[in-house]
Amino acid sequence: MALDQADADLRPLKRLMCLGCGFSYDEALGLPNHGIAPGTRWEDVPEDWVCPDCGTRKSGFEMVEIGYAPGGAELAQRA
């Protein structure tokens, strides 16, 4: 238990955007329809993973600090 607490990852969750097409990856939401569970850190997404919409590699994503439009997070979770 103590070890779990010590290992707890307190870093804020990130959002990233594909620079090839605009598809977004949100660590908090994951991509359940693509087999990535909510809470999955970007570094834990497999290195050979590519944008499901345009095939851009992970290195072609940029971290963004942009919030959602109303209702947007729910739509993003179903992407």
Partner: protein, 265 residues
Amino acid sequence: MPGPSAPHSFVLRAGERGHDFIRSDGTRASYIAGHPDAFITRESSFNFHEYQSGRPGFGSMRVFGDEVFHGVGCGYNMHPHHNFLICALILEGELTHINTVGGGMVDRLRPGDYYVFSAGSGGKHCELGITGEDTSIIYVWFLPAELYLPPTYFRGHFDGRTGRHDIVQLIGEADGALPIPNDIRISRLISDAGGKYTYKPRSLSHGTYVFVLDGDLRCADTVLRRRDSTGISGVEGIDCQAAADATDVLFVEVAMTMRDDVVGR
């Protein structure tokens, strides 16, 4: 480290941009339309696709592409987007634009026409030159102010005769300009008689990317020729002197952030 409002500038010459030659063959033919003989040439001012050795962007701008579709049926087959604010300005030829926004539409755009497509929560589009003449287009992509906005599409027209000898806002909040959901303005100047012009950004924390479509322009002590460009931020005004011959210039104004000083050079 300078803040977002400290004076800062760069100059990018036409030949320093990223160059792509993309033929519609092999697996590319699913993306590039017009197989077998069509091809796209693309000059990128910022990192885009395989070109990754330039600037990452400027403010919220991530793509400034100077593209030509060559050959009948050349273009981009139907493909998806999210979030990006995608602007296209047609310089030559004709662009047939098929877009899924709002139940779907087919648009045909000629020189002077332009569009703003906010992909938001998702949309697809297809862009084709179907007349056989080369189609020359400037593509500008921006990050949005919010993710997953409802998708929108607007088109406009710039009349190079009545709009001559003035800096005319095409995209932004001005009367007659197309709206765009972020702090962005795109303006155009066409001049054929020389003259001095001053572009005034909204504040010291806004940057302006000046791109010469045609002609010569002296801009803040730098002479820019066809397809040269400069990005300037942290100034109240940008003084420009157009040459006596035909001069055609785009001004792209964006909000700068501290982060741009880190990644935007």
